[in-house]
C-alpha cells in the first residue's frame, strides 16, 4: 500500500512538473503509451467512518501501428481495494475480491489487420452491441464484473474475452461481423461479506451457514472448455439506410450466470458432504436487433430515437419458494428497450429509456421462478425506466450529471456526479450512489449501501 502511494506521489510530482505529452511516443507517432492512475474513496452516507471503497488502480495503454494495415493495442490494469484490509464491516472479504480476478489484469491485447473491405481484430477484447445506456441487453458478448454493482464505467465492468472479430463491408455503410470466441469467463460478483453483495448470494450463504457443522461443504465449478469446439459464436449485420441505423444480431453461447445445485453424499462412506456445483455450461441462443434514428427536420429535429430487442431461447432461471432455490429450469425471455435523447437549453443533454423484460412463464412445478440477483419471485413482465441528464460549465471543465433508474418494485437508484478538469492531466470527481426500495428489489437490496465517493484520475 505504502509503495503504491509513494509511486503515485512521485508520478504526480513528475506530471505537475510539466510532463503533459504522452508517456512515450514512437518516432513519427506510430505508437503511443499512456498511463492512468485512479484513486477513489467511498463511505457509507449514514456513517462517514464506514469505508466502502479505497480503490487504487494503475492502467497502461499502448498502441503501435506497424503499417497502414497492421496495428496492435495493449491495455493492462492492476487495481487494489484496500477496504478489505481495514478493520470494519468488510474486513476479510471473499478471496480475490480486493484485486484483479485471474488474468483479468490484461484488459485488452489484440492485433488489427485490415485489407479493405475486410478487417480482423484478433486477441483479447471487448465487443459492444446495442444502443442502450446503463442497462445490458444486447450488450451480451462480454460477461460482466458486478463487484461494484455495475456502478463503474461499462468499459471497466465488461470482462474481455479472447476472440477473433472478423468483418466484411460489402458497401460503405454496411458491415457483417462474425465473432469466434473460444474463451469463456463467468460473470464475477461480490461474495456474501463484500461491499455490494447481491441478496441471492447472501441468502445462499445464510442457507449454508444454517447447516449442522458436521456437514462438510465442497464446491465444484463446471465451465466450458476453452476451445473453438466449445466456444461461442456470434453474427451481426449493421447498416445505415437513409439515416436509419439498424443491426440484426445472433449469438450462440453460454449464460454467464451459473446454475447452482447441491448434492448430499457420504464422502469416504462416513463424512456427510454437501457438494455445491456451479454449472456454467448452459447453452443459450440470442436473437436481437437494434435501431437508431435521428430526426433531422421538422418540429422534432434534434431528437434521437433508439431501440433494441432481444429474444433469448433457453435462458436458465432458478426456482423455489421464499428465496430458497430448489432447482433450475429454462424459459424464453424477451427484452426491449426504447430510448429518446434530446438537447434542451442549448447544452443540457437528456436521455430517457423504457425497458421491459418479458418472461414466457414465472412459475414452474408450483414454485416461483427467481430473479437471479435477488431471488425474488420473477414477474411475467418486469419494467424499468432510466433518466439521465448532463451538462457542462466553464468550457467543459465542470461536468455535472445525474442518472436515475426506476424499477417496477418501487425501487430506485439515483446517482449524481460532478467531475472537474483541474489541468491537462488531472480530473477530480465526486458523487453519490443512492438506493431506495424493499430488500428483495434490485436496487432496494443495496439500500443499506448508499455511498458517497470522491476520486481523482491522473493521466499522462
Amino acid at each position: 500500500m505504502v509503495r503504491i502511494y509513494l509511486l503515485k506521489t512521485l508520478l504526480y510530482i513528475l506530471v505537475m512538473a510539466g510532463l503533459s505529452s504522452p508517456l512515450y511516443a514512437w518516432e513519427g507517432n506510430r505508437g503511443a503509451l499512456n498511463c492512468y492512475l485512479n484513486t477513489e474513496i467511498g463511505t457509507h452516507t449514514r456513517d462517514f467512518s464506514g469505508l466502502m471503497k479505497l480503490y487504487n488502480s494503475l492502467q497502461v495503454k499502448g498502441s503501435y501501428t506497424y503499417n497502414r494495415n497492421i496495428s496492435i493495442f495493449i491495455n493492462i490494469k492492476k487495481f487494489y481495494d484496500s477496504v478489505y484490509d481495514i478493520s470494519g464491516q468488510y474486513r476479510n472479504g471473499s478471496p480475490g475480491i480486493a484485486t484483479n480476478t485471474g488474468n483479468t489484469w490484461l484488459r485488452e491485447f489484440f492485433i488489427d489487420v485490415e485489407r479493405r473491405p475486410l478487417f480482423a481484430r484478433i486477441g483479447r477484447q471487448q465487443v459492444v452491441w446495442g444502443s442502450s445506456d446503463g442497462v445490458r441487453a444486447l450488450d451480451c458478448i462480454n460477461p460482466g464484473d458486478s463487484r461494484y454493482a455495475y456502478l463503474d464505467d461499462a468499459s471497466e465492468y465488461r470482462i474481455p474475452l479472447w476472440m477473433a472479430r472478423l468483418e466484411a463491408s460489402p458497401v460503405p455503410d454496411a458491415t457483417l461481423q462474425v465473432l469466434l470466441i473460444p474463451d469463456y469467463e463467468p460473470n464475477i460478483s461480490a461474495g456474501p461479506g463484500d461491499v455490494f453483495a447481491f441478496r441471492s448470494t447472501k441468502l445462499a450463504a445464510e442457507r449454508i451457514a444454517g447447516l449442522p457443522s458436521f456437514i462438510r461443504i465442497a464446491e465444484k465449478n463446471r465451465t466450458p472448455l476453452n476451445d473453438f469446439q466449445n466456444g461461442s459464436y456470434a453474427l451481426r449485420w449493421q447498416q445505415v439506410i437513409d439515416g436509419w441505423e439498424y443491426t440484426l444480431n445472433y449469438k450462440y453461447g453460454y449464460e454467464a450466470y451459473p446454475q447452482g445445485a447441491g448434492i448430499f453424499a457420504l464422502r469416504d462412506r462416513r463424512t456427510p458432504t454437501l457438494t455445491l456445483t456451479k454449472d456454467y455450461t448452459k447453452r443459450i441462443n440470442i436473437f436481437g436487433a437494434s435501431f437508431t434514428k435521428a430526426v433531422t427536420a421538422g418540429n422534432l429535429s434534434g431528437l434521437t430515437v433508439r431501440g433494441e430487442f432481444l429474444y433469448t431461447r433457453g435462458k436458465p432461471f432458478p426456482y423455489g419458494t421464499n428465496g430458497q432455490v430448489t432447482g433450475n429450469t429454462d424459459i424464453s425471455a424477451y427484452t426491449y428497450i426504447l430510448g429518446l435523447d434530446k438537447i434542451f437549453f442549448t447544452d443540457v443533454l437528456t436521455s430517457a429509456q423504457l425497458i421491459q423484460f418479458i418472461h414466457s412463464r414465472s412459475r414452474y412445478q408450483g414454485n416461483d421462478l427467481f430473479f437471479p440477483a435477488t431471488f425474488a419471485p420473477l414477474h411475467r413482465v418486469e419494467t424499468m425506466a432510466t433518466f439521465r441528464i448532463s451538462t457542462h460549465f466553464f468550457a467543459e471543465r465542470l461536468k455535472p450529471e445525474l442518472l436515475m433508474i426506476y424499477d417496477e418494485r418501487s425501487d430506485w437508484r439515483i446517482s449524481p456526479k460532478v467531475s472537474y478538469e483541474v489541468n491537462n492531466n488531472l480530473w477530480i470527481y465526486a458523487g453519490l450512489h443512492l438506493f431506495y426500495g424493499k430488500e428483495h428489489s434490485l436496487f432496494g437490496q443495496f439500500s443499506d449501501d448508499n455511498m458517497i465517493y470522491a476520486g481523482q484520475t491522473l493521466s499522462f
Binding site: 503533459s20 505529452s21 504522452p22 499512456n34 498511463c35 492512468y36 495503454k61 498502441s63 496495428s71 493495442f73 485488452e108 488489427d112 479493405r116 473491405p117 478487417f119 471487448q126 459492444v128 444502443s131 445506456d133 464505467d153 461499462a154 468499459s155 465488461r158 468483418e167 463491408s169 460503405p172 455503410d173 458491415t175 461481423q177 449493421q238 445505415v240 437513409d242 439515416g243 441505423e245 437508431t292 435521428a294 430526426v295 433531422t296 427536420a297 434534434g302 431528437l303 434521437t304 433508439r306 435523447d341 434530446k342 438537447i343 442549448t346 447544452d347 443533454l349 466553464f394 468550457a395 467543459e396 471543465r397 478538469e421 489541468n423 491537462n424 492531466n425 480530473w427 493521466s459 499522462f460
Partner: protein, 288 residues
C-alpha cells in the same frame, strides 16, 4: 480510326476514374458577385469543398480569463461525397491529453441546408459508438469559445447578407504569438444576419479578402448590438495543389475573457482517404 476512338474512350475513362468525387477548382470572388455569392466562396474554402478529402492534425489551446491554458491535440478528416443526399462526412478524434484520448465524433452533413446532420460519438468509457442528438447551433463545442455553428454547422443559406463596402483590413495582432497579420489587405466587409429567430447573435461582420475570399476576421454582435466575440483566421497555400487552408484560428469571447487558439500542425489534401473510414463500423474499431 476505330482503334483510336476506343483508346480515347479508355483514356477518358481512366482519367475520370482518377479524378476524385467532388474535386474541382478553388473558387475565387469575381467582379459583380452578390454578397451571397462572395460568402459562398468563403463557405467552400472553409469546408474545403474544392478538394476530395482533407486531413488535419491540430492543437487546441483553451485559455481561461486568468490565462491558464489547457491543450488538446486532435485529428480531423473530411470527405466530399458524390451522393445525391450527403454533401460531406466529417470525422474528428482527440489524440491528447490522455484523459480524453480516443473520444471521437463522426458526422454526416446533408446537401439540404435545412436538414440536421447525423452524428455519432465514440466514448472510450463505454467502448461504444453511440448516436447522439446534434448539439444546438449556439452551444460552445469541444470546450472552445466557438459554437457548433461556427465550427461545423454553418451554411450561407442560414443567413442574409449586406455588403458594407470594400475596405483595407486594419490588421490583427495575435495574443498567442504576437504576430500582426494582413494589415492593409483589401476586404469585402459583409454583414450577416441570422434567419434563425432564436439565434443568440444579432449579426456578424465578415472581413473577406477580395483576392481569394478567405475570411480574415469575423466579429459577432449580441442582440443589443454590442460586439462579444472575434474570430481571426490565418491562411496558407498547401502544396502540392496550392489549395488555401486555415492554419491558425484565434477566437476570443469578449464577455468572459476566454479564448481559443487552434493551430493546424499538418494539413493534407486529396490523400485518397477511403469513405469507409467515415462509417460507424470504423468508429467502433477505435482502440483507446
Amino acid at each position: 480510326m476505330v482503334k483510336w476512338f476506343v483508346m480515347y474512350l479508355l483514356a477518358a475513362a481512366l482519367m475520370c476514374a482518377g479524378i476524385p468525387a467532388g474535386a474541382g477548382e478553388v473558387p475565387v470572388p469575381a467582379q459583380g458577385m452578390s454578397p451571397e455569392q462572395i460568402v459562398t466562396v468563403w463557405y467552400d474554402i472553409e469546408y474545403t469543398r474544392f478538394a476530395r478529402d482533407y486531413k488535419n492534425y491540430n492543437t487546441f489551446f483553451l485559455r481561461d480569463r486568468n490565462g491558464a491554458t489547457r491543450e488538446r491535440k486532435a485529428f480531423r478528416a473530411r470527405i466530399v461525397i458524390a451522393e445525391p443526399d450527403i454533401a460531406y462526412k466529417d470525422y474528428a478524434v482527440f489524440l491528447t491529453p490522455a484523459s480524453i484520448k480516443g473520444v471521437a465524433m463522426l458526422s454526416w452533413h446533408y446537401r439540404n441546408p435545412d436538414r440536421e446532420r447525423e452524428q455519432w460519438f465514440y466514448l472510450p468509457s463505454m467502448r461504444k459508438a453511440r448516436r447522439s442528438s446534434p448539439a444546438e447551433d449556439d452551444e460552445n463545442t469541444l470546450g472552445t469559445v466557438l459554437t457548433v455553428e461556427e465550427m461545423t454547422s454553418w451554411r450561407p443559406q442560414h443567413e442574409t447578407f449586406r455588403l458594407l463596402g470594400v475596405q483595407p483590413f486594419p490588421g490583427y495582432v495575435s495574443s498567442f504569438d504576437g504576430k500582426e497579420s494582413y494589415r492593409g489587405e483589401r476586404c469585402y466587409v459583409i454583414e450577416a444576419f441570422p434567419k434563425r429567430k432564436n439565434a443568440m447573435r444579432s449579426k456578424r461582420i465578415l472581413w473577406l479578402r477580395t483576392s481569394d475570399g478567405c475570411c480574415l476576421l469575423q466579429e459577432v454582435f449580441d442582440k443589443a448590438g454590442k460586439i462579444y466575440k472575434t474570430i481571426f483566421r490565418r491562411f496558407a497555400r498547401i502544396s502540392p495543389q496550392e489549395y488555401p487552408a486555415i492554419v491558425f484560428v484565434e477566437a476570443k469571447d469578449l464577455r468572459t475573457g476566454e479564448s481559443t487558439i487552434i493551430r493546424c500542425d499538418k494539413i493534407v489534401f486529396n490523400s485518397g482517404i477511403d469513405e469507409a473510414e467515415f462509417s460507424i463500423d470504423y468508429l467502433q474499431r477505435m482502440k483507446w
